[in-house]
């Protein structure tokens, strides 16, 4: 498709398990972002990839969170030893540079 694709759309996991969320950005977009939206909260910045530069990881809430972007395209957000407070919608976005972002529909994570 032409838009940002995220998978899975829904993930239910048990506390303590690891999860991986995938993002396929729009082809050619150099910037890729991960945000999360917890219940009743806004869009919380997690991590940002821009071209070949070192990623901006300043938004990652703990060392249980990590992300990779392979080949400048697909990105995977990994959450280790999930906790209930990790439950949220995880949104990926891409753009040509900073500015207008194109978001995916999100991956809803529920940690039981």
């Amino acid at each position: 498709g032409a838009g940002v694709s995220q998978s899975p759309s829904n993930k239910v996991t048990e506390k303590g398990k690891d999860v991986e969320l995938r993002c396929d950005p729009i082809s050619g977009h150099t910037a890729l972002y991960w945000y999360r939206q917890s219940l009743g909260q806004g869009l919380e910045f997690l991590i940002y990839f821009q071209g070949n530069s070192a990623p901006d990881k300043s938004g990652l809430p703990s060392d249980r969170f990590s992300a990779e972007r392979t080949g400048g395209s697909v990105s995977t957000l990994t959450i280790q030893r999930t906790q209930q407070e990790d439950s949220a919608v995880y949104l990926c976005a891409s753009s040509w540079a900073t500015g207008e972002l194109f978001f995916g529909e999100g991956s809803r994570l529920t940690v039981l």
Partner: protein, 114 residues
């Protein structure tokens, strides 16, 4: 510490009237501002933006005003329509700063009644 603040979590407006959504920011390095709109179960979509060299940008029913001295921007929707009911996020970045992420506010839920 929130760099982008939307102090009104919700706003209710009648169809045909003006909707005004407000946003304040604290980081003086921000020079590019955007509004995004989000429907339930969908990702946010870009609505309108403004650079700090302007104080107003208009696109159809949507106008964004920027007051740099007050570090305040607002989105005006005139006339409001029921289809405008959504969550509106204000976002900011330093456009000329490579590697600067887009920072969002917590959003304002707009409800337009017919």
């Amino acid at each position: 510490d929130q760099q982008v603040k939307q102090n009104s979590p919700s706003l209710s407006v009648q169809e045909g009237r003006i909707s005004i959504l407000n946003c304040d920011y604290t980081n003086s390095m921000f020079d590019y501002f955007l509004w995004y709109k989000k429907y339930p179960a969908e990702g946010p979509t870009f609505l309108i933006s403004i650079s700090s060299i302007k104080d107003k940008n208009e696109d159809g029913r949507f106008t964004v005003f920027l007051n740099k001295s007050a570090k305040h921007l607002s989105l005006h929707i005139v006339p409001s329509q029921p289809g405008d009911s959504a969550v509106y996020f204000c976002a900011a970045t330093g456009k000329d700063q490579a590697g600067t992420a887009l920072i969002f506010g917590k959003g304002t839920t707009l409800s337009v009644s017919s």
